[in-house]
């Protein structure tokens, strides 16, 4: 338990560095069950304050510390050091522009999210009290509402790497499906119309990278399949 943890971290400061490079850090084991985020914090607080990464909740809820850990996307805060092969290679999420070190530019990702109008849209008059949902209708949202938009799935999707300018990517499509499944939402038609596109939706070829990457254990591929089936039912 006294051994050191060896971590190679991707470093890049566009103002100073002409090229990114990997930097080795050695971090002492602080406690059993130590997470990768604990090690990054140790580095930032004790070894090198210039190391830059996003984090907030520290418990897999906010979705801000998605990164590429030993080649697999995941959240640093819920990834145990114990299970990781050392030296641990930590890189920013793939296929996004690096702002600095492990911080990537998520503007396009969240713009795509905004495009699907991720809020409740209703046409019927607002009821006097709330819009009700039966327990079964609520259960329909299990498996989608848990998504924290960390981007681990989308940045591991080859289709998004090649055509991310138009392909919405697994996270956004899972969210689109979430609103279509919501019994209170009344914009199903518009939502389907928007996604019926060879690039926005049908770029997904069921490679399943997204499902493997999701730290919340969600299955965006199934959600995409559900949208495709809904479109099929609408036309046939």
């Amino acid at each position: 338990m006294n051994a050191m943890i060896h971590i190679d971290i991707y470093r890049y400061n566009p103002e100073k560095d002409s090229q990114p490079y990997m930097q080795r850090f050695d971090v002492p084991w602080e406690k059993t069950g130590m997470k990768l985020l604990d090690a990054l914090n140790y580095i930032k607080w004790h070894s090198d304050g210039s190391l830059t990464y996003r984090r907030s909740c520290g418990e897999g809820v906010c979705g801000s510390d998605g990164m590429n850990i030993n080649g697999v996307n995941g959240l640093a805060c819920i990834t145990s050091i114990e299970g990781l092969k050392q030296p641990i290679k930590v890189r920013p999420l793939p296929s996004m522009e690096v702002i600095r070190d492990l911080v990537v530019d998520t503007t396009h990702f969240f713009d795509q999210y905004r495009q699907i109008k991720p809020w409740l849209q209703s046409k019927t008059p607002t009821p006097e009290h709330e819009r009700l949902q039966t327990p079964d209708e609520r259960a329909e949202l299990d498996g989608s509402y848990e998504c924290i938009l960390c981007g681990c799935c989308t940045t591991s999707c080859p289709s998004w790497w090649w055509n991310g300018d138009r392909f919405m990517g697994p996270a956004v499509l899972l969210q689109a499906d979430r609103w279509m499944k919501d019994s209170r939402d009344e914009a199903m038609g518009e939502r389907l119309d928007q996604l019926e596109d060879a690039f926005k939706l049908y770029r997904c070829h069921q490679i399943l990278n997204c499902m493997e990457a999701c730290p919340k254990g969600l299955n965006p591929t199934a959600a995409i399949g559900h949208i495709k089936r809904t479109l099929l039912n609408r036309k046939s």
Binding site: H108, Q115, W162, N163, G164, F199, Y202
Partner: protein, 120 residues
């Protein structure tokens, strides 16, 4: 990577591409085995060449054969189109898809001509 808001709206074409790819796959999955059964019958001596030709000459066979070729072309076109869309960008994409369409169209027509022209 694109960073500004850039929503071109829907092209409303994805569904039919997807549909035809799957539909043609179903046709292929039903008709291709028939072709292989004929082939097997010839090689195993159950059919001689003349009776094979008699089979192929019949009107129903020609219809099914035509359907098979059309489905094959549609399926190959859709599959390759998707691959080109995945990996090739900008003007080259449209050029390659068009080239492929012309070549497959010609090949399909040639084959259909063979089906309907031979024999009596």
């Amino acid at each position: 990577m694109v960073n500004q808001h850039r929503d071109l709206g829907s092209a409303h074409s994805g569904f039919s591409d997807w549909y035809w790819q799957r539909f043609s796959a179903v046709v292929l999955a039903t008709l291709l085995p028939a072709a292989f059964v004929l082939l097997w019958a010839v090689y195993s001596g159950v059919l001689d060449q003349q009776s094979l030709l008699d089979y192929l000459d019949s009107f129903v066979s020609r219809l099914l054969h035509s359907l098979l070729i059309v489905a094959l072309m549609v399926h190959a076109y859709m599959g390759l189109k998707v691959m080109i869309e995945d990996y090739v960008h900008a003007a080259m994409r449209i050029f390659l898809i068009a080239l492929m369409l012309v070549m497959m169209g010609l090949f399909g027509m040639w084959w259909l001509a063979l089906i309907w022209a031979w024999g009596g």
